[in-house]
């Protein structure tokens, strides 16, 4: 069966308005006018893709189906696309040949073993590493968006001793990237960046490649529990979690404002300390979680310098 896009929408009563957070978008009539997106997955967990599916907002695109039907043409994304094998690879290659697509990368770029710990696909009987595909596809992209901590900074796969030599997309390709870290990234952050890109806006980035509009303030400075009494043990509501190891003061992210899962909750409001998942230091050289009553434990202090080094390397 084939339904046209219009039939498909009317089946569902879905809206096709193309306004994101008050930002006027050009009219995107699919399939002809839409920005083509190639979404590659490397050394990651697919969590950012799953998070992307969780989009829900009062303004269009309200949910992920609207993003896919009205905003972008998602030409390649192995978790959702119908095609497999050669047909899938050909779809990506056709878009690559034209150039000018938006490249979204999820997952870091393994470089050990010649990149053989992560293959993208087989083409003409030859196994192609993710490293090769990212490098090649980055060269003809109109823009590169790194979704999640792994593609932005290396993330957990790059944590010491970085067994597979994982690098950020920036370090692996030498290209400028827009980084949307988070483990996973929040769907609204990604969609905000896509909308700005489509509107041709110039996105101001911090030194780590993160949009300042999204990552300009610490979690702590926006936190509802700022100024409240300090919790001394886990499982207590409405107390500041600083004494339990909260990394809110050193973590730049809008979580207290964007919240998570359609504003159902967010880390601190579930009494879970921020673990700093939008930072390049996540989860390097220090515990991501600490015992009640403690800060970073002593053993890890000496590793702080390593942190800085790694941060610079990436």
């Amino acid at each position: 069966m084939q339904v046209s896009r219009r039939q498909f929408l009317s089946l569902l009563g879905a809206s096709s308005a193309a306004v994101v957070a008050g930002l006027p978008l050009k009219s995107f009539a699919l399939p002809a006018g839409a920005m083509k997106v190639i979404w590659l997955q490397g050394a990651g967990c697919t969590g950012c893709s799953v998070s992307f599916l969780n989009r829900i907002a009062p303004t269009a695109p309200h949910s992920v189906d609207e993003v896919l039907l009205d905003i972008v043409e998602l030409s390649f994304h192995t978790t959702v696309m119908a095609a497999a094998g050669d047909q899938a690879v050909s779809a990506a290659e056709a878009v690559y040949a034209q150039g000018g697509y938006l490249l979204v990368v999820e997952g870091g770029v393994p470089t050990a073993f010649g990149g053989a710990t992560c293959w993208a696909w087989t083409r003409n009987g030859v196994d192609v590493t993710f490293k090769d595909v990212v490098t090649r596809y980055a060269s003809k992209a109109a823009g590169i968006v790194c979704v999640g901590n792994c593609s932005s900074f290396g993330g957990i796969p790059a944590a010491p001793p970085n067994p597979t030599g994982v690098k950020s997309v920036r370090a692996a390709t030498g290209k400028k990237t827009i980084n949307i870290p988070g483990c996973p990234a929040h769907p609204d952050w990604l969609i905000w960046v896509i909308a700005q890109t489509l509107a041709g806006a110039n996105i101001a980035l911090d030194v780590l490649g993160r949009p300042i509009e999204l990552y300009g303030t610490t979690v702590h400075d926006q936190c509802w529990r700022n100024g409240m009494e300090h919790a001394t043990e886990f499982g207590q509501d409405n107390l500041c979690l600083l004494g339990l190891g909260c990394k809110g003061p050193e973590t730049y992210a809008p979580c207290p404002v964007s919240m998570w899962n359609g504003s159902a909750n967010w880390c601190v409001d579930a009494n879970a300390p921020c673990i700093g998942c939008t930072e390049p230091t996540f989860p390097i050289g220090r515990p991501v979680s600490v015992p009640a009553g403690g800060g970073d434990d002593e053993d890890d202090d000496h590793e702080d310098e390593d942190d800085d080094e790694r941060r610079n390397e990436r």
């Binding site: 569902l12 697919t46 799953v50 992920v64 899938a88 499982g235 909750n265 880390c267 600490v290």
Partner: protein, 485 residues
């Protein structure tokens, strides 16, 4: 002469998988005569864990997989609880179960509609639903319209299931609330009400839409009740503890051997991992995960996967919803592509209905977490289930730090390569005998693969553990000696 067909990437799964099938005509029927499954991603998670605080394990292991992070969180906290001999407060047990239940529901819905359905019906006329193979799409007309419409309705339903889980998980995927000793979130009354309201939407969807759509597919593809059986051995560790001892679970532990009548007990010590066809050093073969070693060796002659081959008493076992429902006596129709889908949908309903009951067991204002102190040295394991099958974590603590951490994921069982005896992994075996209409578009291969709901990010293993890693024998501490047949 058989034709070898390489399918890479396999799409609509989690992670990286390459499948190679040999297709030939046997007794007049063109079919798969051999198959090889290759896990094409390796990250070395367990090495990353070495030397860290054991308290990091829940947060780090969740990142093994963004589709089943809650199960890794659960396996890690259960392992830590057991390492310290901690009793988790009742509310902690219940809230952990509720977050996990929410993720089971979202994962099962996602799997049927967004990963599997496009093998049976053609989607909208644009990317990412096109291009697609047109061979043998039998759901057509009004039924197809309805199924594609429900594809979108299901996007909202799985999202809501995640919102429901975030009420006590903090956020999904990767909930930060799972901690040794319990959970950090409290059962605030308004959150219990919100969870109930979500269930009141999800349960009718599962009953009236999801189950109905599985029936629709089953009615036009009834031949798939005879395709994709595989070895026919089923294994479940069990999940959703119903009391603080963990002895009674919503889905109990058990094992089924093809052709036998009774459900058998599971002895954790009988699990070993083989590496003959995996890119790991042969000297690390046949170890129990409690003393597991993983030394990558690439290239290696004859090897073709980053997945090891977990075996139980050297025998391959299939894990997943069908295995769970089967060993619990909830499903007994058969083992096939469609039986996997049917058992998964029925399990989705069973879990959602059970979660409704758990909400009433929450004790207001009672503790959710017990104080936890990391033991100086300990060995423990934690067994649970991910949506796609049995999941185990094994931990050694030395000087208060992680000395060794091993994970065996469900997809390692299902998508494993051949073992030391040359026996195919469950998915490979299930592919053999699958009829192929059109060699250029072997959609039948995708149907068999997708019925297992593979999750390849789980191709993770430890490397270079300390030499003095101790071997210890694990006795079955809990779980029924014999489950219901």
């Amino acid at each position: 002469m058989a034709t070898v067909k390489v399918l890479d990437p396999i799409s609509r799964i989690e992670g990286h998988l390459k499948i190679e099938v040999s297709i030939d005509t046997v007794r007049g029927l063109q079919q798969v005569v051999d198959a090889r499954a290759t896990g094409t991603l390796f990250r070395g998670f367990e090495t990353i864990l070495q030397g860290r605080s054991p308290l990091d394990a829940p947060d780090i292991t969740q990142r093994i997989c963004g589709v089943c992070p809650v199960s890794h969180g659960m396996a890690a906290v259960v392992t830590l609880d057991r390492a310290a001999g901690i009793a988790v407060p009742e509310n902690g047990r219940i809230l952990r179960n509720l977050v996990l239940a929410a993720n089971f529901i979202q994962s099962h819905i996602l799997h049927f509609y967004h990963l599997a359905a496009l093998d049976y019906v053609d989607g909208p006329n644009q990317a990412p639903w096109q291009p697609s193979w047109k061979t043998d799409k039998r759901v057509s007309g009004a039924a197809a319209n309805a199924l594609v419409g429900n594809y979108v309705a299901a996007l909202a339903m799985r999202r809501k299931a995640h919102e429901m889980g975030a009420l006590f998980g903090g956020r999904l995927p990767h909930p930060p609330t799972y901690r040794a000793g319990g959970i950090t979130a409290t059962p605030r009354p308004e959150r219990i009400d919100a969870y109930r309201a979500y269930l009141n939407e999800l349960i009718p969807f599962i009953q009236n839409v999801y189950l109905n759509d599985v029936n629709t597919v089953a009615s036009v593809y009834s031949d798939y009740f005879r395709i994709g059986k595989g070895h026919g051995n089923l294994l479940a560790y069990g999940v959703f503890d119903l009391d603080s001892t963990g002895e009674e679970k919503l889905l109990n532990r058990g094992r089924w051997v093809n052709g036998r009548r009774d459900v058998l007990r599971v002895d954790v010590g009988s699990i070993t991992e083989q590496v003959r066809y995996s890119w790991y050093d042969d000297r690390t073969a046949n170890l129990n995960p409690a003393s597991g070693v993983t030394t990558p060796q690439y290239p290696k002659r004859g090897a073709y996967s980053w997945l090891k081959s977990p075996r139980y008493q050297s025998i391959p076992y299939e894990v997943g919803p069908l295995a769970r429902m089967w060993v619990n006596g909830d499903y007994s129709n058969g083992i096939s592509v469609l039986d996997r889908h049917a058992a998964r949908a029925l399990e989705c309903l069973k879990v959602a209905e059970a979660a409704m009951g758990w909400l009433d067991e929450i004790v207001p204002d009672a503790p959710v977490i017990a104080p936890y102190e990391v033991p100086d040295s300990a060995s423990a394991y934690g067994l649970t289930e991910a949506a796609r099958g049995a999941l185990g974590h094994w931990l050694n603590i030395r000087n208060g730090r992680i000395e060794n951490y091993q994970v065996i994921t469900p997809t390692c069982w299902n998508a494993s390569p051949r073992d030391g005896n040359g026996r195919r992994g469950p998915l490979e075996q299930a592919l053999v005998g699958t009829p192929i209409k059109n060699q250029a578009e072997p959609i039948e291969v995708l149907r068999v693969i997708h019925s297992f709901d593979p999750c390849l990010s789980c191709a993770v293993h430890v490397m270079r553990p300390k030499k003095e890693a101790q071997v210890f024998t694990v006795a079955m501490g809990s779980g029924p000696a014999a489950c219901r047949p």
